[in-house]
């Protein structure tokens, strides 16, 4: 082995476990374009992603997966694999020492299938070997005798089909009845059925992790995930260990977008490590990644909108069929969101919405950016355009006249108490300057550098769409985050703050924000971020656009306590009474503790001479309620809105689309790092554009036909339109610093805006996304 290898025996995972520190010249508090603390290692290729983890003598794990969408397992013979030199262990369901199943919300998914397989790609066995190629050969040498079954692949048909799982085929049914929908009919009625294909999160960094046995029955896992503690609890249950025996450390996460909420290889790699007594690394290939994580739910949605002649929306009826695939994952929450937000961000007095999250033999579906709102937005925005056409009202005006405002009631009966700048978002998107481009530039034609489109055939279209969703978890879930902050004098005499929080940094920039908060609250310019791990309490999931609010609030709360303790220390030393009305006589400002009345001050470093000041804080959001039997209740914490206008060029003969421009107005509450917000908006729009015109997991009898980046296309730099974003800043009451989460809204209404623009350019109905070339060229509406 070369010295280059030996140099990394401390493991890349452990190297990244030392945390990151603000570079000296980087600063910036709340509201500034502060730089990422992990930026330098990331641009230099030194940042330790989970797939970079390395330990001396580590083995390579690999999973054997079902080639069938549905089959009975008659027998599994692992002897061929066990006989290969270099194979250390082969494990199947019989080797799982604890709970045989796992699951994000319901433990309904086997760690390994034993009697039946319910989707293509379901794990059946795993191996650990000294080389990944030996592991690959070992997996191929396992003989599984399957009896293939007819897969159940239609979510609507699944209601009456034989159950494919002991828990039945209906994962959740929700009915929302608002107002008196049975008694109301509008003067104008439009209806339609809409479909959305299965989208993949397609993060760049594949599922990967390194498990190291501690020699005492427990295990340390270096892992990329969105929620360390919920992974830990599932691993511990399946391995029959106490939670303390399973210690997780976040290793660099190469994007997530919802796909890392569910356990993938966590249980497998830990079990392999415990069985062999050696470190085991697993890294999925891109193909395996397509089988190894949940996707966005495909959906079929039947809608009927009723309006008065003046354009007032009076009733929305919807039946929503979401295909959750073989296992529950977060389907129950996805269908809840879909139902809650089914009409879009509009006032509507009467609604009847029925939603089903169904179990089928398709790949499991769960969380993806936008979480239930993406699907319904595509449908309700198509309906609004239909309604506008039927009423002969401008689509933007129709939306503005029905737009939700603070104080309005949702179809779940909840009144919006926070800010709801829906009209402002719509105006910002719709009134943005038009695209100023060279329409004769062949590189900009639909089809891009293929240059196959004829300039004279190209038609331009414009469309507008609006969407919304909830922030944080809903329906009574006690959602919280934990942070610890320590303030002390550093080696050079300057104050240094250390933040410990288990919030998963997946690229969104929480690490930047945590430093900004500490700089603003405690005036310490050097902020060290302890690596996220399970040594501290849960931070909850990096999902539902919740970390800025939840973990941001936890860091702020911990800073508040540190400041109070520091001020008390100074007060005690100087004999100052800080009780009652005198509480604010001392203040921490500009790096000093000042007496507000007397004018004297103590530098922060001097105040810290007696040792560090530390505090923990657990931040909970306001309580929410579950829905009642009519789907009514104050189930959500807060709402976030955005509108998009898309300009597209279409070659109708070739069916080629080029999205030229996306303008957006987004409700952000307050932009705590405006440049990072723009990054989230541009990135979210890219995923929305992808869903509109190119991204779909193509299924053939439940099997994935395109599990690769050659066949599953995501937008490249050439596919991305020019983005023009307007941030609508109206601070949200109750939110730390007034900020709303910003990650999801760009992905919700950008898709329907693009589809509306294609309809505008072609005159086609287009009821399904992604819009495929043959949908346009063959005029398949």
């Amino acid at each position: 082995m070369r010295s280059g290898q030996r140099r990394r025996t401390t493991t890349a995972a452990q190297a990244s476990a030392t945390g990151t520190t603000t570079r000296e010249r980087v600063g910036g508090g709340i509201g500034s374009d502060a730089e990422r603390p992990d930026g330098v290692p990331k641009v230099q290729g030194r940042f330790g992603f989970s797939s970079d983890a390395f330990a001396e003598g580590m083995l390579w794990g690999r999973t054997l997966r079902s080639p069938h969408a549905a089959a009975r397992i008659r027998s599994i013979d692992t002897s061929g694999a066990e006989q290969l030199d270099g194979v250390e262990v082969v494990i199947t369901a019989a080797d799982v020492p604890g709970r045989a199943t796992f699951g994000l919300e319901h433990p309904d998914q086997p760690v390994f299938a034993s009697d039946v397989v319910r989707y293509q790609g379901e794990p059946v066995a795993a191996v650990a070997a000294v080389h990944p190629e030996i592991a690959r050969r070992a997996v191929e040498a396992i003989a599984v005798d399957y009896e293939p079954l007819d897969p159940l692949i239609d979510a609507e048909a699944a209601v009456d089909a034989d159950p494919i799982h002991p828990d039945g085929n209906v994962v959740r049914h929700i009915e929302i009845v608002h107002g008196t929908p049975d008694e109301i009919t509008g003067s104008v009625v439009v209806e339609g059925t809409y479909e959305i294909g299965m989208q993949d999160q397609a993060f760049m960094g594949p599922e990967s992790g390194l498990a190291i046995p501690d020699g005492d029955g427990g295990v340390d896992l270096y892992i990329s995930t969105q929620w360390l503690h919920v992974d830990r609890d599932q691993v511990a249950a399946c391995l029959a260990l106490e939670p303390e025996q399973v210690r997780l450390t976040l290793s660099g996460v190469g994007g997530a977008f919802g796909a890392r909420e569910d356990v993938s290889l966590q249980v497998h790699v830990c079990l392999l490590a415990l069985r062999t007594g050696q470190p085991v690394k697993m890294v999925y290939s891109r193909e395996e990644s397509f089988f190894g994580h949940v996707h966005r739910h495909p959906a079929r949605m039947h809608y009927r909108h009723h309006a008065d002649h003046d354009g007032t929306l009076v009733k929305v009826e919807a039946s929503l069929w979401f295909d959750g695939g073989a296992y529950a994952s977060s389907s129950t929450a996805v269908i809840s969101n879909a139902c809650s937000f089914a009409p879009g961000p509009y006032r509507v007095a009467h609604a009847h919405v029925r939603g089903w999250a169904m179990r089928t033999n398709n790949p499991p579906c769960g969380a993806m950016r936008g979480f239930g709102s993406v699907q319904v937005c595509m449908a309700h925005e198509a309906q609004m355009d239909k309604l506008a056409a039927a009423l002969d009202i401008d689509p933007v005006e129709l939306r503005l006249s029905n737009a939700l405002r603070t104080g309005d009631q949702l179809i779940t009966g909840q009144r919006i108490t926070g800010v709801a700048p829906v009209a402002e978002c719509i105006r910002a998107a719709a009134d943005a300057p038009p695209l100023d481009d060279d329409r004769d530039e062949p590189l900009r034609f639909p089809g891009g550098t293929g240059r196959t489109a004829d300039r004279h055939h190209v038609r331009r279209g414009t469309g507008v769409a609006v969407g919304f969703k909830n922030l944080m978890y809903s329906e009574g879930f006690d959602d919280f985050s934990t942070a610890a902050v320590r303030l002390e004098v550093g080696a050079d005499g300057a104050p240094v703050a250390t933040v410990h929080c288990a919030a998963a940094e997946v690229g969104q920039g929480f690490v930047t924000l945590a430093q900004q908060i500490v700089r603003t609250e405690l005036w310490a310019q050097v902020v060290h971020l302890h690596q996220a791990d399970t040594a501290i309490g849960s931070a909850g999931s990096t999902s539902a656009s919740r970390q800025t609010w939840m973990s941001g609030g936890a860091v702020q709360g911990a800073c508040d306590r540190v400041r109070e303790r520091l001020l008390q220390r100074v007060a005690d030393r100087r004999g100052i009474d800080l009780t009652g009305a005198r509480r604010e006589v001392l203040a921490l400002r500009d790096g000093e503790i000042r007496h507000v009345d007397d004018g004297w001050s103590v530098p922060l470093g001097e105040a810290l001479e007696d040792g560090p000041v530390e505090a923990n804080y657990e931040h909970h959001h306001v309580r929410t309620d579950p829905f009642d039997e009519r789907g009514q209740g104050d189930a959500h914490v807060s709402f976030v809105f955005a509108a998009h206008r898309a300009v597209v060029d279409v070659d109708p003969e070739l069916g080629l689309v080029r999205v030229q421009q996306l303008t957006t107005g987004q409700d952000v509450g307050r932009a705590l790092n405006p440049r990072a917000v723009i990054g989230q908006i541009e990135g979210g729009i890219a995923q929305g554009v992808g869903l509109a015109v190119m991204e779909e997991i193509v299924l053939d009898e439940g099997c994935i036909a395109n599990p690769s980046f050659t066949d599953y296309l995501i937008p490249t730099a050439l596919d991305m339109p020019v983005v023009d974003a307007t941030l609508i800043e109206q601070p949200e009451p109750g939110a730390p610093y007034g900020a709303k989460g910003v990650g999801e809204p760009p992905t919700i209404s950008s898709t329907p805006a693009v589809v509306a623009a294609i309809r505008d350019a072609t005159g086609l109905d287009l009821r399904r996304v992604p819009v495929r070339p043959d949908d346009i060229a063959l005029r398949r509406s």
Binding site: G4, Q44, F203, M204, G205, E682, G683, Q687, D719
Partner: protein
């Protein structure tokens, strides 16, 4: 019998020249890609493994000055070539102008695609310092990014071009 016997007959020792240094690979399985050998044998994990079929550009390196996906190059085929990886960009840990511009423009989110982009953008700007925006988009269209939507990356490239033109 050692545990490596399964691959012994398909293994060989060879040397690679990477970032100006010689590296020896002992008993490397012949099927190993340059990407695998860089990452798992030589302690150079800067090139990333995202698709392993030459579609995403995360593993971009320069092979004798030509931009390639190291996942599609057999390591043993790179013997005698000059390999340059993201670890070889910049002197002694100093940031290059491209790396600095990526940080300042906010082009980095999860960062998994970034090492490949750093190599690709250096290659582009060395060959075509005055590439217009469409040409830049085309040149980096082989580098997939799922986080940023490319907006801040394009801004970073433009900033380097302005800086270099003014210098």
């Amino acid at each position: 019998m050692t545990r490596h016997d399964t691959l012994r007959e398909e293994s060989v020792a060879y040397g690679l020249h990477i970032n100006g240094r010689d590296h020896a690979v002992q008993a490397g399985w012949l099927g190993e890609s340059l990407l695998y050998v860089l990452r798992e044998r030589l302690g150079l994990p800067g090139a990333k493994n995202a698709c392993e079929q030459g579609e995403c550009g995360s593993c971009s390196v320069l092979l004798d000055g030509v931009l390639v996906c190291s996942c599609c190059v057999l390591a043993a085929d790179a013997v005698g070539s000059d390999v340059r990886t993201v670890e070889g960009m910049g002197d002694d840990g100093e940031l290059t102008d491209v790396q600095q511009a990526f940080l300042e423009a906010g082009a980095v989110q999860c960062g998994f695609c970034i090492p490949g982009l750093i190599v690709a953008v250096h290659d582009l700007l060395d060959r075509r310092p005055d590439a217009d925006e469409l040409s830049v988009r085309e040149a980096i269209s082989g580098n997939l990014c799922r986080c940023t939507g490319y907006g801040r990356i394009l801004a970073a490239v433009a900033a380097v071009q302005r800086e270099r033109a003014g210098a």
